[in-house]
Amino acid sequence: MTVLEVMERANSRDTKLVIAFIKDAVMKIQSSTEENLKVDRQTITKNTRDYALPTDLISLKTVSILDTEDDGKYKRISRLAYDPLVTEDTSP
């Protein structure tokens, strides 16, 4: 469906406003459903705890870690229900 068709169906003449609304709708759809999934891979560095989430992330689905001893399978890991006692280790 083209932007023009959306404008005609919604009875609107403001192209820029309709395009902005369409972007909002796409964002809402991606937030509620899994229409377009992406995968980001990062190298885990020894003694480094923090990793950046993808900048275009809308909704986090799974986090997995590579198991090199099991034929290179990525295994899904769990989210911590609470913060650990150690907040920072200055000499990990």
Binding site: M1, T2, K28, N36, D67
Partner: protein, 151 residues
């Protein structure tokens, strides 16, 4: 070498940062050099203790090519337009495109101060999202029959 990663790692997230923790299991009665014992069953979290190339995999939803030049219902290879115009296509299937129309109608109604119409169109928007999701699950479920089942 990473092993049993599904059980040995956990994560938490803080804003834009994902924190990885390695789960360290210690013996129930671990005696240190000064004769002290740890609490029975005590486990602790440590920082990742090894480097794993491409070891972290994050699966997420994102906006990718919201507008395309070609009609996504007729083409599989799609290109993003340099600038979005009235002739650009929404990169969604027909059902979700109709949901987008409802969303635009809802926002337009809100700008006009018609909250009742806005709520009606938002309900239509979410109905179409639900329809689109349930349309993917219309598959029959097969079940094996045991050899001694009464028929």
């Amino acid at each position: 070498m990473s092993f049993d990663t599904g059980k040995n790692y956990v994560y938490s997230h803080h804003g834009k940062t994902l924190r990885l923790w390695r789960f360290r299991r210690t013996p129930a009665k671990d005696v240190d050099t000064e004769g002290r014992t740890t609490t029975s069953g005590w486990h602790s979290f440590i920082y990742p203790d090894e480097t794993i190339d491409s070891g972290l995999r994050i699966e997420y939803t994102a906006i990718e090519k919201p507008f395309v030049v070609e009609d996504p219902d007729e083409n599989s290879s799609l290109t993003e337009p340099s600038s979005v115009s009235e002739l650009s296509h929404i990169n969604m299937n027909r059902m979700l495109s109709l949901a987008v129309v409802d969303y635009v109608k809802a926002q337009t109604a809100e700008r006009d101060g018609n909250i009742q119409a806005k709520e009606y169109f938002m309900r239509e928007f979410f109905n179409k999202l639900a329809d689109n999701e349930s349309n993917k699950n219309k598959a029959f479920v097969a079940q094996a029959v045991s050899p001694y089942a009464v028929k």
